[in-house]
Amino acid sequence: MGLITNRKEDKLVEDLLNIENIKTDFRNSDKSEIRVLDGVSIQLKRGEIIGLVGESGSGKSMTMLSALQLLPGNGKVKEGTVVLDDNGKNLLDYKPNSNAMRDVRGGRIGMIFQEPMTSLNPVMPVGEQIRESISEHLNLSKAEGKAKAIEMMEMVKIPDAADRYNEYPMQFSGGMRQRIMIAMVLAAEPDVLIADEATTALDVTTQALLLEMIKDLSVRTGISVVIVTHNLGIVARYAERIYVMYAGNIVELGDAVGIFHKPYHPYTKSLLKAIPRLDDPIDRVLVPIEGMPPSPANRPTYCAFYPRCKYAEPKCRELPKPELFEIFPDHFTACHLTLEDFVTKAKQADVSLSAVRPPKKIEDTVCIEVKNVTKSFTIYKGLMKKKVAEFNAIEDISFFVRRGETLGIVGESGCGKTTLARTIMRMYEPDRGEINIFGTDISKMKPKELVPYRKNMAMVFQDPSSSLDPRKTAGESVAEPMIIHKIYDDPAEMSDRVDELFTLVGLDPMMRDRFPHNFSGGQRQRIGVARALASNPSILLLDEPISALDVSIQAQVINLLEDLQSKMGLAYLFIAHDLAVVKHISDKILVMYLGRVMEEASSEDLYRDPIHPYTQALLSAVPIADPVIERQRSFIELQGEVPSVINRAKGCPFCNRCRYATEQCFAECPQATDRGGGHMVACFNK
């Protein structure tokens, strides 16, 4: 540790950073101004980890950028104070690029951003980027700076740090780049670390590893941490106090247990009811928050949550925006409802909310059966396209899905989820294996022969904005599969069917003539679902269908999918990296790692009794949105990172990261064996 001074001893309960009543405006191109932050206050004590949660557009990042005077050119802080060390000096009085401000920015308060792939300068060696921070804020010589930079790289566990000092960001993986960002920020020995969605783009095991590291550093060095995120599980696991933001305001704040166990703001309460959790009972119904957050331009003068609030009363609309008040010691909420109001309202509301999902009807008809499917890719290189390598993106995958059943496929990036989906859709031809659709093998069919089977399968894609043709109206996009498969001769009949599909997915048929950009993300995904349903398929492949959506919108789409399934008896293949969502929606789950199935079990069994070491590690990395439960869980740290599929080990794909690996694991690949009740595990030792 050396140069990092151990500050834990002098951790005092003192205010370190005081952000008071920040109001920030953004100027439009037509010179009109929009208020994005409307009086946000945040207090941070020395050595404390706080969480700032909210959906996109709630202003959580803007609060931090405002405090650091890092706003883009058209943003301006109109009011408010930011005081560091309780010394009475308002940081916002300094010019953005004055020496005093720059000493604070980077020197006292460091910030890590969301996108590890683009947040580092691509043409500067990573070591130099770390050293730049050091020479800006610490009085060290060039050689000392370099030594310290290498030390920092070692601290964030970058292997061979000294040798990698001169390497460029592109030579590192996303997780490694984010470590470098952390090293860069901590190198200047700041007192506050702001992690702005710092782990959102990373795989769940890497995410947990990094957050554990940050927490550990905070404990060791006494640095205060602000975790800015939309992920309630992360704040439940790591934050001591939590600020909840909605539409440019803090709506509730309190200690972690209070926020999760006794939320008082209707927004916080609704949010917790809307997100699936890993430890949910099987029949839990998500309660989505209807509607959408208001855009900053159209925020009402009354409570911004009023239009979506299940507890709203007429007075909420008449009174001005509610201010934060202390409803319990150290627990503040911004709501007009009194405690009594709230309790009675909550009782009524909770009764109507506590619906239990009816048991699902799974029929015996097998819709799709995949047997030992393998798909390999070849890497070509050079002018003559010489074959340099061949690897199996997916290997030996088998499963079946029945009518009305949902199979969840989970795994981290690079595990072959998407290749599997594309192979099933026959965008790729598998090298080996069978893909049976209602008993007919389509794995070797020619494109023409496939046409009638394509009608039976449809796909919903991840990014609802780029998977719809921007030049087609919503109605045209939905009608397209029907035209391709020549389902209707009569245009009027088809038009009726489009209206019907719109209604089915919860969209107003009046909107069919609008273009995709007129819809919100959640609505676009509904169009995607409507399009997938147009040819009346019995199998739906959902490739990360909700990961691009905000948490309050996710529940809407999940419920829609569950509804459609029970109405139409669809078979779902649900591909996602979010284990809680997969657990919620699936009947059985396939855990993949580097192209192979590690474990397959019913979602209950998998969660209750994971057998494969990889599944165990994966589940332990997923935070649960409940601080009390979180404190009892332990996190299994995996060594290293997910290797590229090209460099997969000869034996079990997981062998070089596995705690239990033996010689046998390195030599041969374990086959999945039944551990009772269809719980399939591919492991020699467990």
């Binding site: 920015r105 980077g106 460091g110 951003f113 683009t118 947040s119 043409v123 500067m124 804020h137 592109m170």
Partner: protein, 320 residues
């Protein structure tokens, strides 16, 4: 890197070969009897006519004349000028350095100035200085070079007699003072379009870089504006600029050939003009060929520079 250069040189041979085809056959289609051009006079006797006719291999097919021409070319013989009765290469080797000198000087001025103006413009986006720079760059970009040359000449030479309007000379022959005086106007004239072009390109490249996440990272480190701009913005903004260096050099080369005519500078441009007027076919072919080779080399140089500014690119095809 070595392997890559070999590959690129191989491609360049193909390009030059195609250009030889084009120049030879296009020039061959020029109307009029080239025997008279080659003789340089009209009053030829039949014997004289026949002699030249056979010397020029006009009795053979165009294709076989091309093969003969190509063979000569490969042995370093670019042919004889009809007009000056000298080997074309002897004439060209005096002119090539002049034209290259003018072009490189213009390039040397336009890249740093263009990047400077473009960066200022991007940093001060939507402020008056940006508007002015962009406006001037746009105007300069569309003004024809010969017109700028004439205007400069009118003002500096004829009205004020500050600079000589013609008479380029190397410093060894005419002395540094005279040399500099004679090249100021031609160089400005050639460089102006280049400066304007680089300003526009740099501005958009820098604007693209400014909104990147790593610029925000650099600012969040507490770096000064100067450090952010120099170390992070310009370095990245240069990458797209480097890609256009080659094509810009080719344009500057052609620009200086026009400007040579305005200022009567004895370079390839002036020679090209006279050769075209005189239908001096071997000279025209040689000039086109040499220009092609220079342009090709410029493009290869660009690719090499690209590796130097962008560590993500490696020339052996293993790019990220």
């Amino acid at each position: 890197m070595g392997k890559y250069l070999l590959k690129r040189l191989g491609q360049m041979v193909i390009v030059v070969f195609v250009v030889t085809l084009l120049t030879f056959f296009l020039v061959d289609m020029v109307p009029g009897d080239i025997v008279y051009n080659a003789a340089g006079r009209d009053d030829l006797t039949q014997e004289e006519y026949d002699q030249i006719y056979y010397e020029l291999n006009l009795d053979k097919s165009t294709a076989s004349r091309y093969v003969i021409w190509l063979k000569n070319l490969l042995s370093g013989n670019l042919g004889y000028s009809y007009v000056y009765r000298r080997p074309v290469w002897d004439m060209l080797k005096e002119k090539i350095p002049t034209t290259l000198y003018l072009s490189f000087l213009a390039m040397l001025i336009s890249v740093p100035l263009g990047v400077l103006f473009g960066s200022i413009s991007a940093i001060r986006r939507k402020k008056p200085s940006d508007t002015i720079i962009t406006l001037i760059a746009n105007i300069c970009n569309c003004l024809p070079q010969f017109w700028i040359g004439i205007m400069l000449m009118l003002f500096f030479s004829f009205r004020h007699n500050w600079l000589p309007s013609v008479g380029f000379g190397w410093p060894a022959r005419v002395g540094w003072e005279r040399h500099i005086k004679t090249i100021i106007m031609p160089v400005i004239c050639v460089a102006l379009g280049g400066i304007a072009g680089f300003t526009r390109q740099s501005r958009s490249a820098m604007l693209e870089v400014i909104r990147q996440d790593y610029i925000r990272t650099a600012r969040s480190k507490g770096l000064s504006n100067a450090a952010v701009n120099m170390k992070h913005m310009v370095r990245n903004g240069l990458i797209p600029i480097v890609t256009i260096l080659g094509s810009r050099l080719a344009r500057i080369l052609s620009g200086s050939m026009i400007v040579e005519n305005v200022f009567s500078i004895p370079g390839m441009g002036l020679m090209a003009m006279t050769s075209i007027n005189n239908k001096d076919i071997p000279a025209i072919q040689a000039i086109v060929l040499i220009s092609t080779i220079v342009a090709c080399l410029a493009f290869i140089l660009t690719d090499v520079l690209y590796v130097l500014v962008d560590p993500r690119i490696s020339l052996d095809g293993s790019a990220d």
